[in-house]
Structure formats: C-alpha cells, structure tokens
C-alpha cells in the first residue's frame, strides 16, 4: 500500500463533540495511529469540568518537522471531525477557512437549554446547509445509528475513525488501528472494533465528488 503524504505540514485536525462522547478516546486512537508512521504528533485536549456535557475539542497536529502548539491557531484547521452535528459549526466559526474539510456524525445530542425549551436546535437539513457553506468538502455519516446496529453506540467513534481512514487524507491505516486497539483494549473487543472501522472506511470510499452525504 502506498503511503499517504501530508498535504500540509503541520496538518491540523480538530476532533469535536460533547463531553461524554469519547472525544479523548477517539483522539488518542488517531494520534497513536499517526505516530506509528513516524510523525510528530501534538494533541491538545479539554479534560475535567468542561467534559460534563459541554462542548469539547481535541486539537491534533501532525508534522514531519517538530511538535507544535497544542492549540491550533484560529482559522487554521485542515480537517474538522465532529461527533455531533452542531459542534461542527461551532468549530468552523473559529477554526474554519475556505479549504477546510469536515466529517460530521449526524446524530444530535441536545444541549440542556434545548431540552428545557429555552434554545432551538436547528434541523439536520439546516445544519448540513451551513456546514457545506463553510466547508467545500463535507462528509456526513450516521455513525451512531450504524453503531447502534452493531450493538453499542460508543462504536460510533470507531466508525468515524474508519471513515477518516477511508478519506485518504491522512496516513491512517487499518493495520495501525488494529495494533493501537490491541495495545489499549482487551483482546475480546478487537473484532467488533475492526468491523466498525471497516463500516466507516467503506462509507467514505463509496463517495466521490465534493459534498458527500451517506447519512
């Protein structure tokens, strides 16, 4: 398999979602896959208080040169991966630019203000339109729903990681994924994780063109 070169150095990726969704786990798996290919990887996370139901972000920077700041400069994201739909927009407004690519999970998690009726949550169509407006290459997948079919919604994150690998943007390979999961999870979980990874990868591989919607 030919190795993917970085299209930019450092390559800046934001993984965003809601506290409790497993953002940190997803970014750890991704970063460990990347470091296996000899890159410098710098990861910045939000932990602790902000994780309780709030918006969370991991900044991942991949470089052949050195480590970088654990916070990506504003307007400088190359890829935004969002585990929750409106969070994609929240991040685009700060880190977006004309070239940024996005991968969005379409399953909403309603903020308390929405549950209580004080705030409105936009429809998924409205969200998609806004994301496409800000990101010329926008993928949408129903990762959580696919994961529920696999028996555990948490696997949605793995489907997202698989999808990123399917994108071909970054050196994210199935072999490395396998090794990283073996390192960090008890053996029993490997198969279902690989299955989730493959589902994600095939969802993206099927698509070409600029805007992709497999949700």
């Amino acid at each position: 398999m030919g190795k993917t070169q970085l299209s930019k150095d450092p390559y800046n990726m934001v993984v965003t979602g809601v506290g409790g969704q497993g953002n940190v786990m997803a970014s750890r798996v991704l970063s460990n896959m990347l470091i296996r290919n000899g890159y410098y990887v710098t990861v910045g996370e939000t932990f602790g208080a902000s994780q309780r139901g709030g918006s969370v972000m991991s900044h991942i920077r991949v470089s052949a040169q050195s480590v970088w700041s654990p916070q990506i400069p504003k307007g400088r994201a190359d890829l935004i991966v969002s585990l929750e739909p409106v969070e994609a927009i929240r991040v685009l407004e700060i880190y977006g630019n004309q070239k940024v690519k996005t991968l969005t999970n379409t399953r909403p998690i309603y903020p308390v203000g929405v549950i209580s009726g004080e705030l409105d949550y936009p429809s998924i169509e409205e969200i998609k339109a806004s994301v496409k407006n800000l990101s010329p290459t926008a993928w949408f997948i129903d990762a959580t729903d696919q994961a529920i079919k696999l028996g555990n919604p948490v696997l949605g994150n793995i489907i997202m990681i698989g999808a990123m690998s399917g994108m071909g943007e970054l050196p994210l390979y199935r072999e490395d994924f396998k090794e990283v999961i073996l390192d960090s999870l008890p053996e029993g979980n490997l198969n279902v994780n690989l299955k989730a990874f493959d589902i994600g990868a095939s969802m993206l591989r099927k698509q070409d063109g600029a805007v992709f919607d497999v949700s």
């Binding site: 470091i35 990861v43 910045g44 139901g53 709030g54 400069p73 307007g75 977006g96 409105d120 806004s130």
Partner: protein
Amino acid sequence: MSFLTDNREGIQHLLMGNEAIARGALEAGVNVASGYPGTPSSEIIETLARVSGERNLYVEWSTNEKVALEVAAAASFAKLRSLCAMKQVGMNVASDFLLHLALCGTRGGMVVVTCDDPGALSSSNEGESRHFARMFEIPLLEPGDFQEAKNMAKWAFELSEEIRNVVIVRSVTRVSHASGNVKLGRLSQTQRHAEFKYDDDALETYEGPAESTPVGHKHTLQQEKIKKVAEIFEESPFNTYHGPEKPELLIITSSVCNLYTKEAINLLGVEERVGLLKLGTTWPLPPKLLKRYLSTTDKIMIVEEVLPFLEENIKILAAEQAKEIGAKTFYGKNDGSIPSVGELNPDLVVLALSKILSTGYMAMPSEYKKRFQDSSFVVVPDRGRTFCPGCPHRASFWSIHNALQMDNRKGFVCGDIGCYAMGRLSCGFNTTKTLHAMGSGTGLASGFGKLAKFGMDQPVLAVCGDSTFFHAVMPALVNAVHHNSNITLVVLDNSGTAMTGFQPHPGLTVNAMGEEAPAIDIAKVCEAMGAVVEIRDPFDLEGTRNTLNRLIEKEEGVKVFILRQGCALSPEKRHAKEYDMRIDEALCLGEDCGCNRLCTRIFQCPGLIWDREKNRAMIDEVLCVGCGVCSSICPAEAIKKEEVA
C-alpha cells in the same frame, strides 16, 4: 509496549505531559509518590500507581496535599527519592509544610510537581504557583514541551540531591493534558535502602534530626543553596535561544507559551526579526545568561500566563544591570501587550507581536467570515455544562432544592469543590450559593450557623463530596459541632473522586496501588464528632426530601445527611442499566400537563428529551443510563421504568 516499562533508549512514544513527568520520575528511580487528585495533575500519580508493583514503588493518594507532601518528605528524609504531585490549589494547602521543609532541607531527591490551570479550564480560580518558589527560596523548573517534561522531571531529582533541597516542577493544563512525541531514556535500576538517620548534631542537615530550626542557621544554609542553583542554571540546557544574533525584538518565555510563541513567529514569518529565549529554569533566574541576551536588543517582550512572574523578576535583573545593558522597553502584562487574565494561545501572541512589529495578520479572511452572517446560517445553541445522565447529584439537588422551597425560610446551601460545584448552575437547580476552596462550604456554614444572634433565621446547609469530606471538611465540621452551629451538612457520597476520574480515598476499601485498605466510615466519624446522622439513597426522591425537611427544622446543632449513590460513570455502573425507560405517550400530557414540563424544562437530564412535533417527552436511548429517577418526577406517571432482566 507500555511506555512505563519500555526500556529501549531513544524509542518514541506519544505521551501526555503528565505521563512524561511520570516516566521521567521512573528514569530517575523514584521510590515514593504521593498526591491528591486535581485536574490537571491527576495522571502523574495514576500513572505511577499502575507500575507500583513492577517498579517496586510506594504510591498513595493522600488525604490532602499537605499530608501528601509530608509523606513524600519522609521518604526523602530516609534517603529515598520521592515525588509529590498536585494542582495549583494544592500548593496553598501544602505550603505551610513546604515553607518548613525548604528551611530544613531534604536528603533523597525530592520533587514537587504543581500543575497550574491558566484560564481556570477545570478550576474555581486561576492560581499561580510559581511564586511559592520565590517565596520559599527553592528552585523552579518549567517544561517548554513534552520531551522536556520528561527530561526535567528526571533531572529535578538530581538537582534536589545536589543541593539537598526540594525542587518544584511547574506544569500547566496545556502541557499536562496535551500530548506529544517523547524519546525515552533508560529506566533506573538503582535500589535504595530506607533509613532515617538522626544521631548527628542538629546543625548537620544530612544525618541529624530533620528540623527547620535553628532558623537563622538553616535560613543561611538555604540561601547558600539557592545561590548555587543560580550558578547551575547559567549552564542549563533547558534554557534555549532561537533567532538572529541581534534581534529587533527579544521574546522571553517559558512553559507552553514557548510553543505558542514559536507558532506566532512562524505564522507572521518574522524568524529573521525576532529572537526567542525560552527559559526552563525560572527561579532563581540565571543573571549572567539574561544579561547576555538582554544586551542583544532594546525591545523585550515577556510572554507568560497568569501573573507577570518572569516579567517582574527580569525587570529587577535589568535594573540591576542597567549600567551595562542600557535602558530597555518592556512589553508584557504590565503594559497590556499580553492579557493579564485567562490562558494564552498562538493568536493572542500573534496579536501582541504584530502590534509591536507593525505587521498585518488575518486569522480568517473577511470573505469567509461574511458567510456566518448569511440569513440561512444556523444559530448554534449554547451547550451549558450539566451533570451526566443518571448522575446522583441531579437527584440530590432536586430534593435539596424542593426541601428548601417547602421550608420557605430562604434557606441556602454553601457549595464545595467537585462535580457538585455545578449545583450553582441550572442543572443543580441553582441550589448552591457559595463556592470557594476545598471544605470552605462547611466552614462558611459553620459561621453562618452562628448568626442567629444577629437576627439571621435562614436555614443553613452545606454540601460536600466524600473525597472532599476527608480532605478539608472534617476540621470545619469539628468546629461547627464544638460551637453548636446550627447547620445541615449534606454529604454527596458517590464512592469516589468522580470529577478527576475515580481515584480512591480514605472512605473506600482499596488504595491507589489497588491493594485492600481499611475504609473510614463517614457516618461513624460524624457520629463520633457528635452530629445527628441520617443516610439515604438520593434516587428515592420523596424519602430524601422528607428526611431533609425534618433535619432542617431541628433547631439545634449539626445534622449530617449522607446521600449515598454511585457516580454514573463509576466503573461498576458504566454499561449496567438498572431500568429500561420509556414514555407512555398516552399518559404524557405534553405542554398541557400543568407541570410546566417538570421532566425536561426543570429536571433536565440529557437522557430525557422533548419531541416538539409530538409534544411529548422522549427517552434518548443513547444517552439514558436507566437510573429510573425521572419516573418519580412525572406527576402523570407517564415515564415508565422496567427493571432490566
């Protein structure tokens, strides 16, 4: 292979700053490690605890930071190497002992790691711990990236042994919780034997009694040590310079601001104009090194977070050397170039830098920004913080809130530190009205509870978690009982230090190393102090409220109400649903219910959502953990729970 046992020199791992510090300690051959959990420091002790067996360490989560420091110092007095880790607030707790320890000196290498939280990302303050180094005259190191976090942690032990005093390593959230490549060194193979020698003369600091007295003598010795440190720091490889020989502007920085500044220089493309002096040894500052760099230019900018610590100390050095190096213009916090509040990031450094150098910079082209104003562009709803689905605190605050409403005497709750600090937010029904340091809720309540004499007739309550109870509530409770203060303390006992990731505490039957440990029973402790004690499960909403009302109505003395229910994220509860939940749509009356949508508008568990189209409540199957509590909230009994078989 785990980075903790990998002994291949030069191999790279992706390590979190805290893991890098732990690895550095292992390479230095640390024997004893202690601490109290607090974001962003907790992973240091957790990581060391994981290999306590393999590496023959003693690791503990101490009752509080002061005790932790004493435990680590004992190891040093017995000529072992020890590390003590805490967050910035812990330094305040530990500082009384630290002052005395610094005067007394240490024997085996001893390192205190403090992790500050600029911007208070997970804190109730923006405390700055670097001043302790200056105040107590001990060396201070600040890692500027992940590799340095490891290397510095290791070297700190050597420095400590060389000068026979404790060394502070100060990290910040964006180092401790960020990750990057770290090249490993070798793990230490040295075995040490513990013995506390005390037979020598008291003036002999190494083999005599360990004391901070006689003060004059010890203070003189201490100051000789810190002078020696300044000499050592002159040659330190942790102080680096990148840039032209005669820069237009010299930036002096430390810690993660090193990475922000490097990025800012890169973004502006001003590598030829700006010099970057990154200091790793920040107290005492090496005067000769600074003189050398200050001489290269007239314009100096200092980039740092929280207080202008470097800025002030550098200015003192510059004033002392003014004759030789000439007058300087300083940019930093004092002139407003760098914000004085909150954490920094590359953009804030760019902003300061572009002003001084008169260069333009645009983070985001205006054409792109305009798209946010498009009429079709959606408004993103704010995402307030909230308790997890199934969190016992939501149920507890629900009952406390309702009990106070029923009591109707404007009673209030003094809050404390932990997840339940969110009791002041809408997810806790805005129940708590004070929030300060660990244990302060009970101390404040103890004071409020004595104000009847001046006409105060409001019921006074305090809350605290189980870990906080041991950390700092006990002395306040003794005070309240002894002074017959009229208060009710609600202990939110969720069996762990949930906020920081379930570290064990003295109330549990296991210690940091996973060994069995005698548990201390909070109820018995309170009874022994002389308080009236009641225990309930907060998921029993009605029983909890009734008991609480009864306790509040009691006129005299200290009442302790223990609400016992495990944290929703605890390892025992994760993936174990107790109930399958569903909404009986025929019974749910929607907006017409008359309850003002108690279930969703008020109770606000993220697992229970509102289907606008159907005008009915709805369970979110992904988020609901099946605690069953919401079923007792719905007056129409439309929320059904069924025990999971």
